[in-house]
Symmetry: D2
Subunit: 319 residues, 4 copies
């Protein structure tokens, strides 16, 4: 084996996502009161929100915009040198945009797009969270006190986007950023229906799902983590009592086996509450590749999704 | 079998308990902010608090007092005729006090004491809860909306009191009120260490625990129900982060097998968060009677309690 | 209130059900290996099976038959006198059949039919379970050791049957046996779509669901209890890995809020694994009565059932 | 930042542990019948056992020996090149032993010892599990069918060993293998009481705990993973019913916040059933370093361990 065959291990983890909302006050209330997140900062038309388990200052940047959708996805590199290597590689790839000085809570970031034209950034320098007095936790190894308000999500777990070209996006992330595909669903026509990608032992950080109709990809959903499936079940009760539309779940995903619950936040974006699933420790195993037939005939617990799950994404397309 | 052998089935269930606190504001904050109860009414030095699953207006009357402890225990009779029968029997027993006109949320009640002199009342007429606009639930068969605030206890599950004469109290409740003992622990000297009593298939509504030192019984704890053991585990995290002293648990009780977590509320009273345990359907089975040896040698998961569990009750005694 | 207004409290609980199967060996394997029940006795073409939490010897009588379906439903009376009273009332009702000497594990039983002609029996005298050496539990207040085999259901929780005349059946059970309806769904044409009935604080023991097509009612399902929703989720994994068809769930029921999972056992009968739900303590409250519109517009978590749930019952009708 | 400051990322994960037992038949029955593992192979005096979630053939090598304890710990390198790099570094460290040809299920391994003289090996080439017919799972992305037997552990999660020199061992693993310390407890005398180390985002794979009395380290415990805390609670019931001594738990650990249950297997080794805890995503954060005072004053849920937890390890020392 040559050095060329060795894995790229420069990206540490998914750091945060920017969500666009045409209803900023209502979306903010949803994330604070129902999901139980904390407002850590605000700047211009954006507020920065954290789960109680974020070591960085936030995992969600919520930005007012004319339509719902995804602003950008941010990754944190493992080291300054790792960041330099990725920036160089991205520049060579032709998809680099260039450096920005940073944003609330983190330092210089290199911006680029995936083959769909979706905006990403990767950075290394970060501010580790310092809780204010009323959020100081009981134990030294907690980042923040639990408030007991709402669902109490721990962190952003993954971002799921739709794409007219899942394979190209998957291969770009593998080649330039070291993402590994854990599961792939292949359509009978040879295209890929979905790809589940991660840089850690958790089964997914980034997911691409096929969308034939659009000429460029959209946001399918952001997923926030809770520690137990019981909390996902409890979240469903809370959503129902607060008039939040439940699109699907709670139930078990076929890929990765995680437990899901999908709702729409007031700005129109789909949000998942998730837990469970398995960690995947094999550092160099082949991905699970499903044929259409295999996937549709052995869905977890025999269950599929409502039609909207395959058609609705943000921003919505004109009918 | 003659009619005399037939069970008395006049009491429907434990209805509410009155808790005394020398720190009314702090106790109220504990029950509202941490346990997630709603203040349904207030009157004089008392506030009336409910869990989200109470069909009556409240299950806890919190009353300012010089020392912590128990005010009274209230039971609801199955019917007006059942209430009359119990009032007559209690009067004949010599432990009757007499009728009161009622209290917030319920009608005429007959007051009496158990052999320890502890105050009880039994009533039938009640007001079923009507939620205000902001607490109207999503479904017709819910009493109240979930707020997502704090632990979110459903209801008062049982009252546990200490007694110098467990057997006398147990027999009084069996004879005059139709309570059934599900489990009894007998000391080697023939006295009873504990008795677990219920009028329903749930394993306990009233528990008497031996207390040698006192000349009359005190409050050991009030127990509030959550639907899952996971919520008990989550409650422990919330208590710790809010500086509430955790005395014991989360763990499994030996009698009834329920899952427990004990803390002290700011007024000094011990509060249990409980879930699980088994329902007991046998309508005429003998209670489980443990000898001291049997009980101590087969504790659930091999675990006992800290010393304070056997000595601390409210009001505290002078050392 | 006169004595006539007082509730009938003579029936203690649902005791067991007889299930008919055309595939006795495969059905037995399903209940023993997958559900984790114990074979307590066998007699003729029947085997008697128990959950680990049954105080009686069994909760399921599995009987070989040409077609799947329900054999009979057995109720246990609270006392010998209670049994006599119910037998007299049932005889007067015109639906009495008469006494049988008993069956494995219980004494004399009075047999009768509901308005659909469905066979019931009620008895009082019972044999309390004595575990063989290999099933002796660790604690005095357990009926049986946990084996760790399969799902490990605790007991039969309820029986759900289809009926062309739900209202007549509900009123018969209320009038003659003291069952209380906790929830009723009314169709716009005035007929009842479903009725949830119990003699205890648990929300259902007997459920009737409307079936227009048949001229007499059939079995919709038997439900077995596990202590946690997590065990229901785990059961779904086990069923899938063992090739058992999952029809619906895991999810939350609208009535009673219990958590469900429906599968078909090898004999063709629908079986539910259930947990959760709420206890209903109000001894004399009115049932929740849903209109069609109310029921369909506020389903728990917004979810309905697959079409087979409304059409499949046992024995299957000819297409 | 220079290349010297970059993290070593050559080790993929903890692969398996070899456990020594003087009671091989009883230990095997414990792991198969109670923990629900599968016997994948046997060779000489060893059997190789797997959890249902192992991608390799096994995670536990159980070997007959005169006394209980640890045989060796095996790590899997990310690539062939990574293995070469670690072998070279270990050789230079003076703690290298040399190559072995492999063992059941994996290829050439480089053996070495930690500063306590404890045997480790690191390898890359592995056989991915191929289930026999009766263990083929329902879905393509499962490694093995769930059997429904016993607890059903998914995999080996961590190895915890005692050491007279925690700091030296920690620094050796950091320097030569790229392990990161997530949490460290420092004694007031400057020595380290414990170190929690991992090469992935899961909080611990290897744990060293101070043992003053011994001249070289022993095995504190092996920990096996289940997916939910509810399964840990259920495991406690199963252990108690099967007469397995429960030493501590179920409860929450202070470091990493995982949920624990400790028992002794028939050979005398301590075994943990664990779930929960948090993932730690910060790729270059400083470890949490507790002083003695900080650690003892803010234990999770206020709970400590029984004295045996600090004194018992395998092989037991002479009293």
């Amino acid at each position: 084996m040559t050095a060329l065959d060795e894995p790229i291990l420069d990206v540490g983890h998914l750091a945060h996502a920017e969500l666009l909302t045409p209803a900023p006050a209502e979306s903010l209330a949803f994330f604070v009161d129902i999901l139980g997140m904390e407002q850590e900062a605000s700047d211009g038309g954006s507020v920065y929100l954290r789960g109680f388990g974020d070591y960085e200052r936030y995992c969600l940047k919520l930005t007012e915009a004319p339509a719902p959708g995804l602003g950008h996805i941010a990754l944190r590199a493992r080291s300054a040198a790792a960041l330099e290597r990725r920036a160089s590689a991205l520049e060579r790839s032709g998809r680099g945009i260039g450096w920005i000085e940073g944003d609330v809570g983190h330092g210089a970031a290199y911006r680029f797009t995936d083959p769909d034209g979706r905006l990403f950034e990767v950075y290394h320098e970060t501010e580790r969270y310092q809780p204010p007095e009323h959020l100081v936790p009981a134990m030294l190894n907690q980042y923040q006190k639990r408030t007991g308000r709402g669902i109490g999500v721990r962190r952003l777990e993954h971002v799921n986007v739709t794409s007219p070209n899942v394979r190209a996006c998957r291969e770009f992330l593998e080649r330039e950023l070291g993402y590994r595909a854990l599961e792939i669903i292949e359509l009978d026509d040879g295209r890929e229906y979905g790809a589940w990608l991660s840089v850690t032992v958790q089964g997914h950080e980034l997911i691409y799902i096929h969308e034939g109709a659009a000429d460029h990809g959209r946001l399918h959903h952001l997923a926030f983590w809770v520690d137990t499936r019981e909390e996902v079940l409890g979240a469903a009760d809370l959503f129902q009592d607060h008039g939040i539309f439940i699109e699907a779940g709670p139930a078990k995903h076929t890929p990765i086996h995680s437990f899901y619950l999908y709702v729409y936040e007031p700005g129109g974006n789909r949000i998942e509450i998730t837990s469970g699933g398995h960690l995947l420790f094999d550092p160099d195993g082949a991905p699970t590749v499903w044929t259409q037939q295999q996937y549709s005939s052995s869905r977890a617990w025999g269950r599929g999704f409502p039609p909207s799950f395959d058609t609705y994404a943000t921003p919505p397309t004109q009918a």
